[in-house]
């Protein structure tokens, strides 16, 4: 049951991301990306992490992509421009990077043939919250301060002169 669901979700995820990359219309690629976020959220749920699943949808699909959409809707109203086919030498860095990623994936997959055993337990929200705010409280505060710095910086740079 879980395995079937997993494969369906994996297919949706991969197709969604492929379409997101290849779509000409930016708004459409946002829709495809959001679809793949949903599949990813359900995968987290299957892995026994409902909290992460909810955050995936709230933060990524519901906040970040909506802001992207907002900006794109304001900027781009015409039909997408047709770009010329990229030169062969421009392909090289992309191919190099893709080769590195695929190579390391193959090495990782070959070094660990065993699948992760199922039998995981669902982590309750309470335990997650304790870990986040007690155990790693200082780290979380530091990260949020950094986000605040970035926010204040953006505000400073973008203010009206």
């Amino acid at each position: 049951m879980e395995a079937t669901l997993f494969y369906i979700l994996a297919a949706v995820l991969l197709i969604g991301i492929l379409l997101a990359i290849t779509a000409r219309q930016v708004v459409r690629s946002i829709v495809y990306l959001v679809t793949s976020f949903f599949a990813l959220a359900l995968m987290f749920y299957l892995l026994g992490a409902p909290l992460i699943a909810a955050f995936e949808v709230i933060i990524y699909a519901g906040a970040i992509m909506v802001l992207f959409l907002f900006v794109i809707m304001m900027l781009e109203l015409e039909s997408p421009e047709k770009l010329p086919h990229p030169h062969l030498k421009n392909w090289l860095p992309a191919l190099l990077l893709a080769g590195a990623v695929v190579g390391s994936l193959v090495v990782l997959l070959c070094s660990r043939l065993q699948a992760v055993p199922p039998g995981f337990i669902e982590i309750p929200v309470r335990q997650f919250a304790f870990a986040l705010f007690k155990q790693y409280g200082v780290a979380v505060e530091v990260v949020s301060m950094q986000l605040l710095f970035a926010l204040v910086g953006a505000l400073y740079l973008g203010r009206r002169r």
Partner: protein, 329 residues
Amino acid sequence: MTWTATDIALMLGKIVLLYAIILTGAAYLVLAERRILGFLQDRIGPNRVGPFGLLQPLADVIKMLTKEDMIPKAADRLLFSMAPAMAAIPAILTFAIIPVGAPLQLFGRQVNLQVADLNVGVLFFMALSSVAVYGIALGGWASNSKYALLGSIRGLSQLISYELSMGLSLVPVVMLAKSLSLADIVNAQADMPFIVYQPVAFVIFLVSILAECRRIPFDLPEAEGELVAGFHTEYSGMRFGLFFVGEYINIISLSSLASLFFLGGWRGPLLPPIVWFFIKVGLFSFLFIWVRGTLPRLRYDQLMHLGWKFLTPLALLNILVTGWWLALR
């Protein structure tokens, strides 16, 4: 957990029943709104089709289905046809986590009157309400019309803004109930509904859900005086119908959530639980209609100021005060 045939049958039964109730409820909410608005504005309202106009929803559906379905030539066809569904589906999905009554004993087992008791129920609701933005945004964008685009940009910014105050107003409720599951939140209100402890959060939540529904004091995305019909200007026939029904389903689901979070859901004296639940939801839905018949529309800057400069700081303050109260008690 392994699923037996009875479990699956029960689950299917619950889902089918829920669908029937939601869709009939939404259809009759439309009629109720038209009748009540008529009463408030000193006119009769629709009373021709059937006794007291009770068959009016049926006539409306037939009208919607037989109308010409137009797609503008310059529209993005795929997104244009998907947007109404994107607006209606999150509203319907919200009902999956709403407990409508006390657990029953059926076929020798305990049956929760709730499709799924998620332990992250509140977050599930927040996720769906943040995804509901896409229907409006894409509907307006895909129409490729100025009015629709302006309407959907307004809708986007309004929904993002008020989602924040709505989410923050629910934090004290979660703090008091010590759980994110809706069944636990209702159980935590066995002695006293949370509106007694959290009147401020209740008011913030109420204003925010009015804004989330894009109803009259906050209906700037479809302000007919300026934008024709806002994000659904180009829609006709059943596609428009889906937007329309989605709005009313949203009213019912947000009313149910307001009664669950603050009025104790199905809890109440004397009457059976389900009746109490329907009474509370009915009261909130009536409030939505009453507000529509009473208040004028806000200006756009007033809307943004109310959300960002008043409701959100107030909700944050309320969280702090609740935290102190819980810590010092």
